[in-house]
Every structure is written in C-alpha cells, then in structure tokens.
Amino acid sequence: MDDFNRAGNAVHGARRIWAPLAVAGALLALTAVEGLIPKALPAGEELPAGTVIEFGNERDVSAQVGEGWILDKDASSLDSGLTFVQGDVSVQLSYIGFNAAEPDGVEAVWQGMDRVFDVERYSGVAVDLGEPTEFDTKWIEGGLTGTLQVDNRIGTAFVLPAADGTEAVEARVLGPLHARAEVWDSAMAIIDSVAFDDEEQQA
C-alpha cells in the first residue's frame, strides 16, 4: 500500500526528497550569508589617545589607551573584557567576577588562569606560563606577573585583583620577539592604567 499518500502527513512523494534538501539549503545559505557580512565590515575601531573604557559586569573597571591602539571589536565585550591591538602586539584584559566562590588569595587566581590556559593547551596551542612574581601598578597592589608564551608569540601575563577580592582583571600582553620597544611600553601603560572604581576613589 502507498504509505506516503495515506498516512496523513503532507510530506510525501517528491516532497520527501526536496523538503530535506530545502532545509539543508536554507541552513547552508544562512550560515554562508552570516559568514560573508562581517567581511564587509571593519573589524576594529581606532581609539584616540587617552580614551578610557569602563568594563566589567558593573562597569566598575577602567583602562586607558595611548596613541595608535585599535579596539578589536570581535574579541571585546564590556561585560567580559577588551582586546587592543597595535601592529603585531595585542593587549587582552579579561574581567573576572568571583560570584560563586572567592579565591583563596591572588595565587589561586593565577593557578585558575593557568587552568584556563589548559583549555588552549588541550586545543593544540603551545602555552607556557612562567612562575609569578609580585606586581603593583599605580592603582592596584598585590598583583602577580609572569612570562607568557603562546605558540611563537611572547609576552607577559598579569593578575590584577580588586582590593576587596571579589573581582580581578587578568591581562595578557603578547607580540613577536622583535616588536618595537615603544609599543611594549605603550602596552605596559595600558596595564598600568587598569583601575577598579574604589581604588581610583581612594587614590
């Protein structure tokens, strides 16, 4: 008996061929169009020297950039962090909120960062994080810093904790071995500018 014509479902006969083809075609077309549109749009936004951006869940963390930095808009979000690029050098600031459980000291935050690097290591990226040493900035005390190498890019990693221990900024500065010294200095100036609202007020 003709199962397709009597079974009470309109997807029968030739429709059983073109319906799945149409579904697959629609999904492929949507994916392709969504992949093409971003290529026609600028990926970054050049920032005027002195630009201050506030980020983090409550927008209570700020960072200031010097001359020549471009905001990588694909890799940036006011909630989770910002990525700035100048030539081959990048500065990535990640906001970390400890909502579920506060860390047992800044060393625990450093170890957590190393575990996040494990995700990249298991993805096949070579990541080498050095031993941490103490690090203070103009606004933040009790931070940690250490050397960082991600594939063939070298640089420095930082953990910058808030005074109350409920949040932190993790930063990575990465670039090629022979990047210009003034760009490294400018990248370090961004790290030095990171501040939590309460620290700015205290200062």
Partner: protein, 379 residues
C-alpha cells in the same frame, strides 16, 4: 474478498531508514557533534570536575525531561522512541553545533556594527532567535520527512518541537557550565559550574528552549498534517508559531526587565504561559478529532463503546487491561489495544477518506482473540 490483516502490519516502524531526511539528520548531527567537540573537549579535559558535575546534573535532567515530555505533552500516547531519540539528537548535536557556528558569525556582525555597549546589550537578542530557532525547527521539518508516521498533527509537532528544544537546552547548559568556570578565571570551577546549572536548570529552565521550540513545532505539525485546510492557512499558522517562538526567545535574551524577579523568573514564566496556551489549544483540537473518529469506528462496529472509551487515556487503557487475567488473555488484549490505537491514530488526520483505514480495521478484527489470521493487509 479482502484478506484479514495481520495485526503487526498495522503497527509499522515509525522511521523509514531509506529516507533522505533521516540521513540528513544524521549528517547534520555528526557535523554538530564535531563542532561542539572542538569547543567542549578541551574544556572538559581542563575542568574535569565541571565535566563530571555537568554529566551528573544534565543526565538526571535528560531522564526526567524526556519522561515528562513523553508522558504529558502528547494526548493519548507517547511518541515512538525512535522519533524521540532523533529529536533529541538533532536538538543536542545538529542544532546546537550549527548555532555555535552561526552565532559566532552573527555576533561578529553586531560587534562590528554597533558600539560595545549596544552590542553587549542586544547581540544575544538579535542573534539567538533567528539562528537557534531556525536550526531547531529544521529538525522538526526533517522529522516530518523522515517518515509520514512521526508527525501527523499539531500535537505531534508540539511534542517533537519540545524534544528538539530540550536536547538543545541540555547541550547548551553543558557548554554554559564550562563557560561559567572560564568566566570565573578557572577559580573554583565546581562551584561556578554548579551556580550556572542552578540558574539555567532550576530558575530559567522551565521556560527556555524546549518551550520555544514546542510552540514553533506545533506550527510545523499543523503545516504538514493532512488536515484538509488550505495550504495558505497552514503556512500562515506555521509562520505565526515560528515568529511567536522567535519573539519568546527575543524577549528572553533582551535586556528588557533584566535583574531581580522579572529577569530570573518573569521571562521564563511568560514563555511557559504562552506554551500552556498553545498546548491546551492543540490538545483540545486533537482530543476533539480523536472523539470524532472513535465515534465513527464505534458506529462502523470496529470498536465497542467500552473499548473506545478506554483507549483515549493511558490510565483507562491500563484499567481496561486489568479486567483481564494476567497471561495470554491480557497479552492478547494488549495487542488488540495496540492495533486499535494504530487505527485511530491513522484516522486523526482529516483528509484521507474513511475507507482508507480499511487495512487497519482488518488488523483490529484479526487481533481480536479467537480470530484466525489468514493474510496480509498490503492489498
């Protein structure tokens, strides 16, 4: 003379293994699983405690959710297991894996178009309703093409939509469980994953993906069922249901009413209420049609009034069977119930003429205890 059907010919496999749609579902799910694996496997290896917690919590959710969906969302009887697993597979692997790819691309469009603040507030609301609802509902359309027996009414579309959405929700929660650990800088990953799961399962889960796709799925069920209604009406209803599901998703992800009770409970509650309205509308239509075809079969002498009354609910079917002695007698009645259900399910769609169900009536006659089987229905 027409030969009497063997009962088993009336209860056919629900999935046609030769259908292109089945293989499209398998291929889509394989791609999705590969894409998800690239993201999830490194996270699972880096945070094994989060992975174990995810598997434990979401495994329980899978068992409870599938039981609830199959037990409550379709009147009369649960959908076949083959269709159930296909729906979960598409939702969890194909739709979620595709959405991961599409969402990354679409987020890039919004981040490059808007300023950081606007993109942060609106990207999810402008992205997920389109990509995720389209990816999920594609699974319901494919299920309708896998076999003519899986989706024959809006009620079928609703339950398969819910299952597709539930599969999506489970795998998305799995991903978010890891994301929670990463967003907390890898500090106390077990606690952060637990917190993420409590919010996404305990607080918002009751009005999330499963509810949205159930609404869209009901529209697809209405579209593909042979109801005798005009094609234009069926298309508009299906489109309306899809747009309603997208609106539910948009509202869920938008920054409107964020924070406090409205954000945590109000939005999923709103979705759940919409789902209930659609569910009871679909259920009423299905039950009315069931009562109509039952009455016709009683009038034709195929079912007794007692049998027809007992068939329409799971509990009354069990009660009816308990009237027979355990053993061969009750087993024969159970077989009879199965072919009677197949007959009525066959007649729920309104278009086929009354006579088209003749082989199923013959199968009912053949299944009655004491009847001799002499042939097949395939005539």
């Amino acid at each position: 003379m027409t030969a009497i059907a063997r009962p088993e010919t009336a209860v056919r496999p629900a999935v046609d293994v030769k259908s292109l749609a089945l293989w499209a579902m398998i291929a889509g799910s394989a791609f999705g699983l590969w894409n998800l694996g690239k993201s999830m496997l490194p996270m699972a290896l880096a945070f094994p405690e989060s992975a174990v917690l995810n598997v434990a919590v979401l495994g329980v959710c899978l068992v409870v959710g599938v039981w609830l969906a199959r037990r409550t969302m379709r009147p009369v009887q649960a959908p076949p297991w083959s269709g159930t697993w296909l729906a979960l597979m598409w939702g969890g692997f194909a739709a979620c894996g595709l959405a991961l790819l599409m969402n990354t691309r679409t987020f890039s469009i919004w981040s490059r178009t808007f300023d950081l603040g606007t993109a942060g507030d609106w990207s999810a609301a402008l992205t997920a309703p389109l990509n995720e609802e389209v990816a999920k509902i594609a699974g319901v359309v494919l299920l309708a093409a896998v076999s003519t027996r899986l989706i024959r009414s809006a009620a079928d579309g609703l339950v398969y939509g819910a299952l597709v959405g539930f599969g999506f929700q489970l795998v998305e929660n799995f991903l978010y469980g890891f994301n929670g650990a990463i967003m907390a800088g890898g500090v106390e990953p077990f606690a952060t994953t637990l917190q993420t799961l409590v919010v996404r399962v305990g607080l918002t889960g009751f009005g999330s993906h499963w509810a949205m796709t159930a609404v869209a799925g009901a529209g697809i069920g209405y579209l593909v069922s042979n109801s005798g209604r005009s094609a234009a009406r069926r298309v508009w209803v299906a489109l309306g249901c899809l747009l309603l599901a997208m609106w539910m998703h948009f509202l869920f992800d938008s920054p409107w009413f964020d924070g406090g009770f409205a954000g945590a409970i109000g939005k999923p509650l709103f979705n759940f209420v919409i789902l209930l309205v659609v569910f009871f509308t679909v259920r009423r239509g299905f039950r009315a049609r069931w009562a109509q075809v039952s009455a016709e079969e009683v009038a034709a002498g195929v079912l007794s009034e007692d049998e027809a009354r007992g068939l329409s609910r799971r509990r009354s079917r069990r009660r009816y069977l308990r009237a027979f002695r355990p053993g061969p007698e009750r087993e024969a009645q159970r077989r009879l119930q199965r072919v009677q259900l197949a007959l009525l399910e066959e007649r729920v769609p309104e278009l086929p003429p009354f006579e088209a169900a003749r082989p199923w009536r013959d199968a009912v006659a053949a299944a009655r205890p004491g009847t001799t089987e002499v042939g097949s229905a395939a005539t």
